[in-house]
Amino acid sequence: MRKKRVLLSPLDPVHDIGLKMIKNALDEAGHTTFLLPPDVTPGEIVEEALDKKAEVILLSRTLGYGVAELLGRFVDLIEGAGIRHQVQLGIGGMAIKPELAAELGFDQGFGPKTPVEEAVAFVEGRNYVPTQEASTKKKGNLLRERTYDYHHEEINSLLEEISEKTLEWYREVDSPGVRRAELREAGSAGGQDYLELSSDSIRDFFKEGILPSGLRLIGEEEQKSLENVIATGRVENPRILQRQPHQPLVFIQYGTGCPFMDIAHIKGTEAWGADGVVHFDPSWGAKTEGLLAGLLSHEENGSVLSEKNLELIKKALEKSTLWQVRAHRGLNTPETVLLAGEAGADLTKINPVYGSLGGGTDPERLLADGLKAMEYAARYNMPFDMPTNEELCGVPAFKAFAGMLIVTQLGLALGAKPVLQPLFCYSPEMMLGGQMEDNYIDYNAAKVMALRGIIDAPIWAGAPIGFLTHTEERVQSAVSTSFHAGMAASLDIEGISIASTDEAYSGGPITLPARIDTLQGTGEAFRFLGSAGMQPTSRAEEWAEELTSNILRVLKEVAKNGSFLDSLYQGILGSKEEGAYPGRNGRRTVQKRR
């Protein structure tokens, strides 16, 4: 390749660092460079270009009032001087995009964060091919190399004892949720047997074609538009937020009810660095026996679970995106996991403890259904996380963790891959107990330290991190998420779910820019910390020990009771006084297995 003569001119008095970096790279590549001082006029640059016989001119300039015209006149001067076809013109700076470069008459535009290599390629007349690392985002591994080895023998043996007894019970029972899942597996979803096990609203749909209010089927034309949105809306270079391998994968949740909106949110957040997306279904779905069918739009929050809806979302996802379909709390838990597995989901969410103590479903029903769901999760190789959101109702963390650990052992026994989900939140327990009076790090760190001391399992903090620390103020929300993300990175955990900055404000509908706020904040936290980290005080260790001994105490109580299920009703894993109420949906629907 012939070496070029390159004139570099920072039209900005301050922002010439980019040009200096490019100059160094060009010098190294053997080109002859001439770097002009800042604050020269377009005429002077052209004169220098003529004198130096420049073949490439690179300018940098921040756009401001009248600057476009200034740059336009520069390009005109080059043309007027008769050398336009002898020189390649490149412009770089904030707000510069290829579109703007075209308007200004330049041959190439370089926006912020352009790799130096791209500018060198332009000088050398080559097509810029981004390096492999920069261009390809790979699907994250939430499990990393976790072994599921227990580090706490006493807890291990208690969990095995509880789990064995629970599975003995499970093998004897059956529920409408379990049977519908089996019918769906046999290809009879929507059939007579299925409908007999379903709620009236589901029967009305399949028999009369009547949809519950607020729902409608997507028409053919809309469907075509959706396909078009998906085909044209690919994310070319999804951002990678993590700077170090120990920094957690970042998940967002979607569930606007509208497939167009869901896809817009998914594509937007993928572009800005989300590693995974979580499908949220409508709250009424948890109370309804049976699932609808077809491509459906819902006018309230929550995106309807149907085979077609999930298929559509799957099509819209980038290959690098982890996809979770949650199934943790309602009457369709096994069917949902089955659907998710068939649709190609990577992850699901199952926790009969939270789902029955804070989610409104009867403990007996959800335990039977949850175990069936775990079998499907194992079959489809979908790790499942166990949210401990009963903590938000007022259940102390150690009780929620005891329940989560029982579910962990049950999952492992069924061949599945459970993921622990402690909350990074300012829960009622903290408000009353004052553990977060001084700082937000110690108690959250204590939770992770306690869990890590018990079992080597993946941890996904949720959901979302910073729950109840966010206010209606957007900057505060973004900063709080960002700090919690930094803490998660420092604790070496595998995943986090983040909120948008308008969730606390809107209490419902959220916007894409507000999602980008927190993705940006999280990226900044990862950039800021790198391989450094946040350090808890010695209180964290004390609290971790306290948590562990309390978990042990609860597990002993459950073992003493002899029945995990009865312990749920008895309040051993969260009492009514604490705010945990065994749910009533699906009560008395569990039968002896036929």
């Binding site: 006029t41 377009p42 005429g43 002077e44 052209v46 004169e47 003529l50 756009l63 009032y65 476009a68 015209e69 336009g72 006149r73 390009v75 005109d76 001067l77 043309e79 007027g80 001087a81 008769g82 336009r84 076809h85 995009k97 290829p98 579109e99 703007l100 470069a101 075209a102 308007e103 200004l104 008459g105 330049f106 041959d107 190439q108 535009g109």
Partner: protein
């Protein structure tokens, strides 16, 4: 095929509105057209101000030269007939035909040579005119067009007295007479009684350079400037030699308009001519009309955004009385008047 260039004095002076008015009138008259831009046109929002831009629509049968990444950017269905050699930041230029009318996104040749390539490839396709929409205040790629329209207005200056003064200078330069025909020199030169001497540079841009070149010059008879002569450089030229009896020829009028200060250029022209110098251009530019636009984006420092504002339309029109060139407010007076003024004279 005739090439019609629409240049602006600044952003938002109404180039695309003028282009659109001509496209619509051509449609009514069923005259086949081709269109391109030396910048980027047809997008929804301005790349700089963020304000909405006029959209661009083309009827079926029209030709469009646009960059690869813009071909599917509108609602019109375009058939790519040919890929041109010229490159832009948005990909290679494509010569396309509109198979189904609709909105288009247009990023065309950014320099004269690439524009010529587009013109050559459009010849014989059936279009009677190629309309070339300008960009920003850029004019240089339009120097060789057959018909030239200048769009100006409040976006250049919302002070109407200033705007009038500037426009007078532009009109004066754009209407400079052709110099002696047959100028064949490939480079700038100076002719004195001692003979012809190359200047060593095609463009005169800075005072220092001029001082050096014209030091101890005897009586100049003719100076030919192939490249740029800015107002600042022209002032220095006035100081460096005696204009009386000297003919100054610049290759085209736009090459005189590329300096920073049009008022300095006006003074230099006065000075040159008052002292007996003559000035002309090698290639003239047929300025057929000036279109005016009352709109201007007003920068709000508080809040840091552009607010759309307008000057009084009648006052704007009055400011442009008796310029010696037809002045048209396209939005108010319509495309027909523009067409009659600009194009009917060509046929």
């Amino acid at each position: 095929m005739k090439v019609l260039g629409i240049a602006g004095t600044a952003k938002n002076t109404g180039k695309t509105t003028t282009t659109m008015a001509l496209i619509e009138t051509a449609g009514i008259k069923s005259i086949p057209l081709a269109v391109t831009s030396i910048g980027l046109d047809g997008e929804e929002f301005d790349q700089v101000t963020g304000l909405p831009k006029p959209r661009l629509s083309l009827p079926e049968g029209a030709y469009l030269v646009t960059a690869e990444r813009c071909v599917h950017g509108g609602t019109a269905k375009l058939e790519v007939l040919q890929e041109l050699r010229a490159k832009t930041p948005l990909g290679n230029l494509q010569l396309t035909r509109v198979n189904q009318g609709g909105r288009v996104l247009m990023a065309g040749p950014n320099n004269r040579r690439d524009l010529n390539e587009a013109v050559q490839n459009l010849e014989g396709k059936g279009a009677e005119f190629l309309i070339v929409d300008g960009a920003l205040n850029r004019m240089a790629p339009l120097a060789g067009t057959d018909v030239f329209v200048l769009a100006t207005g409040a976006a250049r200056s919302s002070n109407l007295a200033t705007l009038r003064r500037e426009t007078e200078v532009l009109v004066r330069v754009l209407q400079l007479p052709r110099g002696i025909p047959g100028e064949k020199s490939a480079h700038s030169y100076l002719l004195t009684e001692d003979g012809k001497r190359a200047l060593g540079t095609d463009s005169l841009l800075s005072r220092e350079r001029i001082k050096k070149i014209f030091k101890n010059t005897g009586e100049a008879k003719k100076i030919y400037i192939k490249g740029v002569l800015t107002g600042e450089a022209f002032s220095e030229l006035n100081r460096s030699l005696t204009p009386a009896g000297c003919q100054l020829i610049v290759s085209n009028p736009i090459n005189l308009l590329l300096g920073e200060d049009l008022q300095e250029l006006a003074k230099a022209l006065d000075n040159w001519e008052n002292r007996g110098g003559k000035i002309g251009v090698k290639f003239d530019l047929p300025l057929r009309a000036i279109t005016i636009n009352p709109f201007f984006p007003d920068w709000q420092e508080r809040g840091r955004f552009y607010q759309p504002r307008y000057v009084e339309e009648d006052e704007l029109k009055n400011a442009f009385q008796s310029l010696g060139v037809p002045v048209i407010n396209v939005v108010r007076e319509g495309g027909e008047r523009l067409w009659e003024t600009v194009i009917s004279r060509e046929n």
